[in-house]
Symmetry: C2
Subunit: 491 residues, 2 copies
Amino acid sequence: MSKSLPKRSEDYSLWYNELVKRAGLAENSPVRGCMVIKPYGYAIWEKMQRILDDMFKKTGHSNAYFPLFIPKSFFSKEANHVEGFAKECAVVTHYRLKNAEDGSGIVVDPDARLEEELIVRPTSETVIWNTYKNWIQSYRDLPLLLNQWANVVRWEMRTRLFLRTSEFLWQEGHTAHATAQEAIAETEQMLGVYAEFAEKYMAVPVVRGVKSPNERFAGALETYCIEAMMQDGKALQAGTSHFLGQNFAKAFDVKFATKEGGLEYVWGTSWGVSTRLMGALIMAHSDDDGLVLPPMLAPIQVVIIPVFFNETQLAQISEKAKQIKQALEVRGISVKFDDRDTQKPGWKFAEYELQGVPVRIAIGARDLENGTAEVARRDTKVKTTYPLENLDAQVADLLNEIQENIYQKAFQFREEHITKVDSYEEFKNVLDTKGGFVLAHWDGTPETEERIKEETKATIRCIALDAEAEEGTCILTGKPSGRRVHFARAY
Amino acid sequence: MSKSLPKRSEDYSLWYNELVKRAGLAENSPVRGCMVIKPYGYAIWEKMQRILDDMFKKTGHSNAYFPLFIPKSFFSKEANHVEGFAKECAVVTHYRLKNAEDGSGIVVDPDARLEEELIVRPTSETVIWNTYKNWIQSYRDLPLLLNQWANVVRWEMRTRLFLRTSEFLWQEGHTAHATAQEAIAETEQMLGVYAEFAEKYMAVPVVRGVKSPNERFAGALETYCIEAMMQDGKALQAGTSHFLGQNFAKAFDVKFATKEGGLEYVWGTSWGVSTRLMGALIMAHSDDDGLVLPPMLAPIQVVIIPVFFNETQLAQISEKAKQIKQALEVRGISVKFDDRDTQKPGWKFAEYELQGVPVRIAIGARDLENGTAEVARRDTKVKTTYPLENLDAQVADLLNEIQENIYQKAFQFREEHITKVDSYEEFKNVLDTKGGFVLAHWDGTPETEERIKEETKATIRCIALDAEAEEGTCILTGKPSGRRVHFARAY
């Protein structure tokens, strides 16, 4: 076990970076802004992927794959989209290298310049709607419900592991519909899928809402989002679902013959979550000793550690441990039995705490005599002596309890960090002292939102779907407002 | 059903291209050389991925993710590697676009030129070994057994869907070991995994062998491969596994402290299969009516089609069909019940033949009266009337039988297309008339291999691992040879 982590209370940002590296989740790569996702981090991402993919398929979606490269001209076809995405991006200009004439290595071959530059996809609406044009002729071809798991690149100047990287992994759903109503229903359905995933699996409570026009996806008529609260009081956008209207259908001329014999533009949606979810997962639950993982996403749910002083003891404990492991695995629980003799039990305890393994079972020679084991929860650090008999059933229950407890803890924290304010002074004060979501009245204009952002670094995270109608006045301008919106400083 | 496919006997190449498009597997994209993998094609690829991934994990490997971009200078560090991979590639030179001053659209911002160009990975040895340098210090860190699922780009001038595309999807395993022996054992183990996957799941028999030096992976000491035979008598390399020696460890200075206290370079392997496997699967089994899929990789294993003349009949048949569907699904069989009334049964029969669904169950009103159903096999086209009672068990057996039959058919074809020849005349004659693998003696020199390739377009596909020692003389030079090698024209 290396030296202890920085404390959250002292330097939250440093704590996060160190935790990500030391727990074996990710690290920076030699390529600016790109990360290496390490095996343990990738194992969590794989679990997320598998669960989300099943949810997408249950809601009728299929996967497909579209090209990594997008011709530059495609971006110019949707006016807002180009402003949002085609500026800070990786541009492929050449397709060949050659040996330098002076023998100094390899250089770009100037004769191999592409006629049209290719953009490494920052998002795939353009190339996908260009394809949909050929796939959609009639209402019989609709709805078209596709998803893609892919890497995307957005050239970020300031990057942080998982939270903001130049290359990241994500899924992007792209659907096409015959009516606006159906497309909106799809947009809302997928927001629901994301919210359910965040709350049920990640144990992260989220606010469901819509973005203000300033924060809308470039090319969308409406952007729905889920917003989570981190332990430092900053918000994190965890997923978005966009109602695209007919914008991309018009940009790429995608029309369909209606049942009634007419010809209309297709209605579209797109929706995505990314490896950013890893950042949310880590920051929502972890503590100064390391990761705290909800059991449903933990690659190792239970670790069994033998406490022994000689080979004979180890052999006896191992026999029992393997029985326990097998009984747990029959229940679908993933178990690691760490019988290495190169590390002491105390070192292992700390290591698996760092890695956020939800349940640790320690078995010593005396435990065997007594027919017991010491079971430690990662979330509360409580240790309990359990009888070996029926241990698998008890651990299965405990995992459910931990999942629920982690969610409840995050939920309480979130609830304690929602503050209603009615003046700009109070607004700034809450942001500076307590953070969290600040519910305030806003006059609905982009100018006011922009000025508040400049002065306080807080943005409107969303207008909650369940926001109640309430007469009030904008905290900045005093103009009338019909409901409060969620402000916060955010990742 | 659109017009029928071209025939294999008339234009094999056109047959393949049309089949890939019409069966909904893939199509060309607007980006030169890049394909769109359509939902049905992607569903097959997902099945392949899932099975392979499980096999990798069972043999102790974990997944991770490394950057898409590789700094140009990395390639120069391994002399052979740069020649093999860094030439025809996608080069990122800029990271920003801007609005053209004349308002004509967006252009590359000349002020945003990268200091060092980035190459879109054609394969990841360099960026991964650069990372391994930080991960490996001691023998305790070894072996390191990682795999990555990713997209890669090799700028191909002549492309064909799945078989050769500029961007393709693949997995690349990269392992590090303490000894040469262990690395060679890993290389051979993964070749075994690929061979088992090809034969057991894809139903494609393969020759296991090693490449001649000419055909070796750029940077490897030895390249193992599996070679399959297509229906037009051409070979297809279906997977490779490379023993890298210490080449990349030396290029990236990756050393480890041995148990004995020394400091040594690490031994490496890499191995990969790609969406090219889709091409092999399609070309190995399909016929003039469409795809023939082995049940183990078919997204839809059984389709049930009702044959009805009115709503009442449809309702009665549907009730029975849903029972059958459920009984099959309990057995883990994927079933589609196509009760659309917009298409006639005959149209549906042809459509699912095109898509290669292994078993079709047709149920009409008379079948219901008789308590029977008509079951048609896609592989042999044989139709049989089965009693409805116990139908699920019979269909489950039938799927196994089809899987085995498809393999046996491909195996027999392959066996009939292996010819031993002892003269260059005979060699050329067999290639031109019959194709297939031609087993011939070769003097072991790159020059001879090159000349044979130039004159006949045939290459040494591999030196089979089970090749028997046999004295002979090279078909071209008459020089002595100790065993026959597998020549073929290839994809």
